[in-house]
Every structure is written in structure tokens, then in C-alpha cells.
């Protein structure tokens, strides 16, 4: 029906000529004149080369706080470099009627890939499940991977840090199963299952093997919580035996935090349950430059969702053009790598590194004075160069 020829797309649609290359006389007219005077003749600007069947549809969930503006920047960058990604925008609000959440879930199930900001939850009901947590549970996104690599030249307490945190994303303390005896005593259940621990451990070791990492450290508190963290630890040790080329050791969470503050360069891959992963992420982020720089990837069996590493909306700085857009841009780079568009991903990645390290355009959280748009503009300029 449509044929790709040297002069552009030509073809017949419903027996009407669709496009025609303008003659020389017609091309001396202005664009406006061409548009208004001649119906059938359109100004000839070839569109970017769309891979036939190679455009991906990706769900985009703006969420709250700085999410919408940062995702806006991502769309701008993608448009400029012509990345073959179409975004399907699904708004999810903070109220706990889960209609918009199920729309978002349907969209992700259809597209299999998503990128999101932080979904806030405002509810007075104590037993209401957090929308972010419900999101992960329903899509069975069982593991959260965060790659922390220091950027040289960014203000930070520690340098040359290269840590990957593989964090269990579903259960543990985030099971949100609570009940109270009257108002004066509350019990909260922390659940660990063998299946989930096994999945996460396998993922971690596979990831380490694929990315040529040498050592996986399990973070736990099995001296106090003998059964629960003991299960996690024993499953990890079991899986470690199947990967003899990768060293495996374990460390208690409080010792781990202390070591991360003093000497984070000693760690390679950290494999953690849910809450400890949250704490360790916060510590590592703080030590190498802040919440605005890194992104995380949620992986499930079928789905992948990308977001900034620190899951908070940062509402106080929303809309003021001072938020650091690098986190969301890094999430978009992860997205492109996942989809297989390596060239586009590398282009944006190189632009980000150059902006931070050489051009040193830093927003307020890194101690600089640039606005978000300055950073984005620089990234775009470098991408086009």
C-alpha cells in the first residue's frame, strides 16, 4: 500500500494521490503559501527514518511532584533525536479509587514497558495500600536494579564508587499486612517466601555474570531475625553455588551502612531484601552525589518499568525549574537500552556524562546554579552535535 521510494513515501490511499514531490515553480513559494494555496501539495520535508515495525510504544505515567516536568524533558529529548519510541500517557492521581491505576496497569500489560514518576497516595484510611506498592505487586515486578556509578566532577563525599544494588521489590516489610489490637498495640507482618527470594537471587547472579561483576554481597539481619532473613540468606548461598566464578559473601545491614559511609569502594553487587535495599539506596545516593542523578529499573517476568532511583515526589521543588532532570534522563537511557535502541541510548548517555563532568552544568542539589532547562538544553545540544 505504501512504498518507500527515494523521493519519499508515495502511494495510493483510497484512490487519491497522497503525496507528490513539488515542481520547481512550486518550491519557490513560502511554506505558508504552499500550505494554504495548494491542498494536495505538502512542503517536502522527509520525516525521520521510521523503522517499519520498529517503533516501540511505551507507557508514560507522569505521577506527581517533579515527575510530569522531568518526563516532559524526556519526551523533548526523544523528539529531538528521533528515538523510535511513542509514549502513551496515562495519568494516575493520588486518590485511592483505583480506576486510574488499573488503566495504567492495562496500558503497561499491553506495551510491556513503562517509564514513570512517583505516584503519590493521599488517603486517610490506614489500611489503604500505597498505589506505588500496588503497582509493583500487580505487575509482579519482583526485582529493582540500581546502578550507581560515580560521576567525576560532581560534588560528593566519596569518589570512584561502582555499586549495583539488586533489591527485592515485592515482599518483606512492604507486604503491608497490619492489624491492631484496639489502638494500643499493632502487629505488622514481614513475609519472606522461598520463591521470591530464589527469583531475586537468580536474577542477581545472572546479572553479575552478564555484566562481568566479581562479587555479590547479601545484606541481611539474620542474627536477629533468624527465620526470615535466615531464609533469604540461605537461598542466596544456595544459588551462589551454581555460579562458582562469582564470589559471594554476606554482611549485616548495620555494618553494611557503616562500611558504605566509610569505604563504599569495597562493594560490587549488593543483594538486599526490600527495606534494607531502601536504606542502602539512600545511603549510597547520598554518598555519591544525591537523589537527582540515578535511575532504577523494575523488572518482572514480562514487564519492565523505569523510574528515578529515589522514589519520592519531591513536591516542594515541583514546577520551579530547579529539579535535577538527570535521574529521569538516565531512566530514559535505561529504557532505550532495554528496548534495544543502543545507538540512541548511548548518544543520550554520552551527552549526560559530558554535561555533568566536562561542562559542569549542575542544578541546585549538586551545588550549582543551573536550572533544569539549562541541563536539558545542553543535553539536547550535545545529542544533536
Amino acid at each position: 500500500m505504501f512504498r518507500l521510494t527515494k523521493s519519499g513515501v508515495s502511494g495510493i490511499c483510497k484512490n487519491r494521490l497522497f503525496w507528490k514531490k513539488p515542481s520547481r515553480r512550486e518550491s519557490s513559494l513560502s511554506d505558508f503559501e504552499i500550505q494554504q494555496r495548494t491542498e494536495k501539495i505538502i512542503k517536502y520535508t522527509p520525516p525521520p527514518m521510521a523503522l517499519y515495525g520498529g517503533r516501540h510504544a511505551v507507557t508514560l505515567i507522569p505521577g506527581g511532584g517533579v515527575g510530569p516536568e522531568c518526563l516532559g524533558y524526556v519526551r523533548e529529548v526523544f523528539k529531538v533525536i528521533g528515538a523510535p519510541v511513542d509514549f502513551e500517557v496515562v495519568e494516575v492521581g493520588p486518590l485511592v479509587d483505583n480506576v486510574d491505576l488499573s488503566d495504567a496497569l492495562t496500558s503497561i500489560r499491553r506495551n510491556c514497558v513503562g517509564i514513570k514518576g512517583h505516584i503519590p497516595t493521599h488517603s486517610d484510611d490506614v489500611s489503604a495500600k500505597l498505589k506505588n506498592v500496588a503497582f509493583r505487586n500487580d505487575l509482579d515486578l519482583y526485582v529493582y536494579v540500581l546502578c550507581f556509578k560515580s560521576y567525576a566532577g560532581v560534588r560528593a563525599r566519596q569518589k570512584d564508587v561502582d555499586i549495583v544494588i539488586v533489591r527485592q521489590n515485592l515482599e518483606g516489610e512492604y507486604s503491608m499486612l497490619e492489624h491492631g489490637v484496639d489502638t494500643w498495640m499493632v502487629e505488622n507482618l514481614k513475609i519472606h517466601t522461598r520463591t521470591n527470594s530464589l527469583r531475586v537471587a537468580r536474577f542477581a547472579f545472572d546479572y553479575a555474570r552478564k555484566n562481568k561483576r566479581k562479587r555479590v554481597t547479601t545484606v541481611h539481619k539474620a542474627n536477629i531475625m533468624k527465620l526470615v532473613d535466615g531464609l533469604f540468606l540461605s537461598v542466596n548461598k544456595e544459588v551462589a553455588k551454581e555460579y562458582p566464578e562469582i564470589e559471594h559473601d554476606d554482611m549485616i545491614i548495620d555494618n553494611c551502612c557503616m562500611q558504605l559511609v566509610a569505604r563504599p569502594q569495597q562493594f560490587d553487587v549488593l543483594l538486599t531484601p526490600n527495606l534494607y535495599g531502601n536504606v542502602v539506596t539512600g545511603v549510597v545516593c547520598g554518598v555519591i552525589g544525591g537523589a537527582g542523578l540515578y535511575s532504577g529499573r523494575n523488572y518482572g517476568e514480562h514487564y519492565a518499568v523505569f523510574e528515578p532511583a529515589i522514589r519520592s515526589g519531591a513536591s516542594p521543588i515541583a514546577g520551579k525549574n530547579i529539579a535535577n532532570p538527570v535521574a529521569m534522563l538516565n531512566a530514559s537511557v535505561d529504557l532505550l537500552f532495554h528496548l534495544g535502541h543502543r545507538e540512541y541510548a548511548k548518544r543520550i548517555e554520552r551527552a549526560i556524562v559530558k554535561t555533568l563532568v566536562e561542562d559542569k552544568i549542575h542544578t541546585a542539589d549538586l551545588g550549582g546554579t543551573a536550572t533544569s532547562q539549562d541541563v536539558v538544553r545542553n543535553v539536547i545540544d550535545l545529542c544533536l552535535a
Binding site: R157, M176, V186, M225
Partner: protein
């Protein structure tokens, strides 16, 4: 820093009996060092040494020997060295058992930067107050079905209220400005919500102390970037464990951090580092942590004059940096370090 004393008043001419639990590994040598320093400072304390190695009770379960329990109940104040806890199996943690036994409901850990020992963080002055009896460390665990295990986190209003009151009292007595409650009430809405409610109620009773609530990951992130923004932190058990160790890491590690456990009718001060079995018996250990905990104990007993002398001697020795043990980057032996402090005390008296 002083903490509220409960029980009888202490007169300075009276000799007070204190229990000392040397512990395992390097415990005995650092306890001996502390006793030597106290003797040099002529502190009116008589030490009663007990051993808490678990013994099999009449019901077959392992527990703390009754002699130890009687001793601490009688003296009401104790100093403890490091104890060993095996991972994953064996008897329950002895530290936990001691806390349960003596109803020690609050753990206070002041983390202050030491002059003379430089870390990446300067001017750290944070006190972490952690609820000590319940929370995630209740030890209630079950295997529900094969492959699914659960642990129960218990939060009660009584315990939360007690520790909140202690936190505000401590802040007021030590002229500190701000109390921050650390929680994860977005995830654990009911349990941490109850804890927060108790903190808020207490905050209303102390209007001149500033109060704020922060999420755990936010506190971790900010603490590591700028520790000066926090003053006193109060939190449930697990978060307290993680944060207090992290703050200790900011000032130089567990080898330099004192710690006190306050109970309803007594207190137990301890060093929180491990037993360091690799350097046990070789006279290489650093007694600073146990010494500073002992100084906290003196302040608790209102023996402030002696506390100040000993603390100043210890800080001066570290500041001079001539006799530092291995973990602080020096080559001195434990005994040399101790002797230096004794000399300074003798000069001060």
C-alpha cells in the same frame, strides 16, 4: 551528657557498687583498662564482675545465669563489654535477652566528631535514641507453610510513649534544640503511625523543643550529605539499629562510640563494637568506646566532676595523636594508651 536518674540519690562520699560484664574477645582487656583509669581518677565506684555466658536452666532452655541478674538488679547500674551472638541459629541474642530482662527501654547513642581523628565528616553531633524492647526485634517468627516465613513487628503505645518521653526529656536536660522522629509510616501505616502519634502527643507537652518527622530513606540520604542538620533522632528498633551504626560510621566507627541503655529502674552502659576475636589477648584493642560509655555512666550517677576529668583526658590523648591504637591509625598498644590517659588524669587532679 546527663540522663535522668531514677531511684536513690547518690552522695559523693559513698562508694557505689556497679556491675561490670567484661564480655568476650577483647572484652576482658578493655574492661581492665577502664577499671585502671577509674582507679587513677579515684572514682568512688566498686566493681562487681559477673559472667553472662548462658547456662542451661532447670527447664532446659539457655538463659542468663541468675547470679548476673541478681547483681544488676541490686546495683541498678552496669557496664558491659562486647558479647558474641551467633548468626542464624543457636540461642537468642544475649544482648536482646539482657534488654528484656532489665526492661531497658531506650538506647542512647551520642555520636560526636572527635578532634584529632579526622573523618570525611566534621562537626557531627547527633544523638540517636532508639526504642529498645519491641518493634522488629520482638523475635516472634513462624514458618507458615513450607517456603513462607513471617516475622511479626510489634509496636505498643506504652513503649512508644516511654521512649518518646525519654527523648524529649533528654533533649531538654542537655540543652539540645530539635527532635526528629524517624519512621516509615507511608509503608507501615498502622505500626509506625502509632509510634508517630505517641511522639506527636509528647511534642505538645514540650513546646520549646522543636519536633519534626522524616522518612527513614530521607534521613539516610540527608545524614550522609550533611549530618549537621540533625540533632536528636528518636525511632523504633530496627531503624534505630541501622541509623545509630551509620552515625557511628560518620564519626569513625564503633570503636569510638559510647552507648547507654536506660531502663525503668536502672541502666546498662555498653560498648557496641564486636568482640574482635582476631586481636583478642594481644593488647591491641582500643578501649575508647567502653571508656566513653563508662563516662556516660558517671554522668548518669551524677558524678560529673570525675566524668569531665576522664573524658577530657581521653579526648586530649586522641587529639595529641602520639599514642593511638591500630584502628585509629597508630601503633600504640592498649596499655600504652591507657597509661597516657592515667598520666593526664593524675596531672588534672
Amino acid at each position: 551528657a546527663s540522663t535522668r536518674t531514677v531511684g536513690s540519690r547518690l552522695y559523693s562520699s559513698e562508694i557505689k557498687k556497679c556491675t561490670i560484664i567484661p564480655g568476650d574477645g577483647i572484652g576482658p582487656e578493655i574492661s581492665a583498662a577502664v577499671q585502671k583509669i577509674f582507679a587513677a581518677a579515684k572514682v568512688p565506684i566498686e566493681w562487681e564482675s559477673v559472667d553472662v555466658t548462658p547456662v542451661r536452666g532447670p527447664d532446659g532452655k539457655f538463659g542468663i545465669p541468675p547470679a548476673a541478674i541478681e547483681s544488676v538488679n541490686r546495683n541498678k547500674v552496669g557496664l558491659k563489654g562486647p558479647l558474641m551472638t551467633p548468626v542464624g541459629k543457636g540461642h537468642r541474642s544475649l544482648n536482646l535477652a539482657l534488654r528484656k530482662e532489665f526492661n531497658l527501654y531506650a538506647n542512647v547513642r551520642p555520636c560526636r566528631s572527635l578532634e584529632g581523628y579526622k573523618t570525611l565528616y566534621d562537626h557531627v553531633d547527633v544523638v540517636t535514641i532508639r526504642e529498645n524492647t519491641e518493634g522488629e526485634y520482638s523475635g516472634i517468627e513462624h514458618e507458615i507453610v513450607d517456603g513462607v516465613v513471617q516475622s511479626i513487628k510489634l509496636i505498643t503505645e506504652d513503649a512508644s510513649r516511654r521512649v518518646a518521653e525519654f527523648a524529649f526529656q533528654y533533649t531538654k536536660e542537655n540543652n539540645r534544640r530539635k527532635v526528629t522522629a524517624v519512621h516509615k509510616a507511608n509503608i507501615m501505616r498502622m505500626s509506625d503511625g502509632l509510634f508517630l502519634r505517641c511522639c506527636r502527643e509528647m511534642a505538645e507537652k514540650y513546646p520549646d523543643v522543636k519536633f519534626e518527622e522524616k522518612y527513614l530513606d530521607t534521613v539516610c540520604l540527608n545524614m550522609v550529605q550533611d549530618p549537621t542538620q540533625y540533632d536528636v533522632l528518636v525511632m523504633p528498633n530496627l531503624y534505630g539499629d541501622i541509623l545509630s551504626d551509620m552515625c557511628a560510621g560518620l564519626v569513625g566507627g564503633l570503636g569510638l562510640t559510647p552507648s547507654g541503655n536506660i531502663g525503668l529502674n536502672g541502666a546498662l552502659f555498653e560498648s557496641v563494637h564486636g568482640t574482635a576475636p582476631d586481636i583478642a589477648g594481644k593488647d591491641l584493642a582500643n578501649p575508647t568506646a567502653l571508656l566513653l560509655s563508662a563516662v556516660m555512666m558517671l554522668r548518669y550517677l551524677n558524678l560529673n566532676k570525675h566524668a569531665n576529668i576522664i573524658e577530657q583526658a581521653c579526648f586530649d590523648t586522641i587529639k595529641e595523636a602520639k599514642y593511638l591504637t591500630g584502628d585509629l591509625g597508630g601503633t600504640a598498644k592498649c596499655s600504652e594508651f591507657t597509661n597516657q590517659i592515667c598520666e593526664k588524669i593524675a596531672a588534672a587532679i
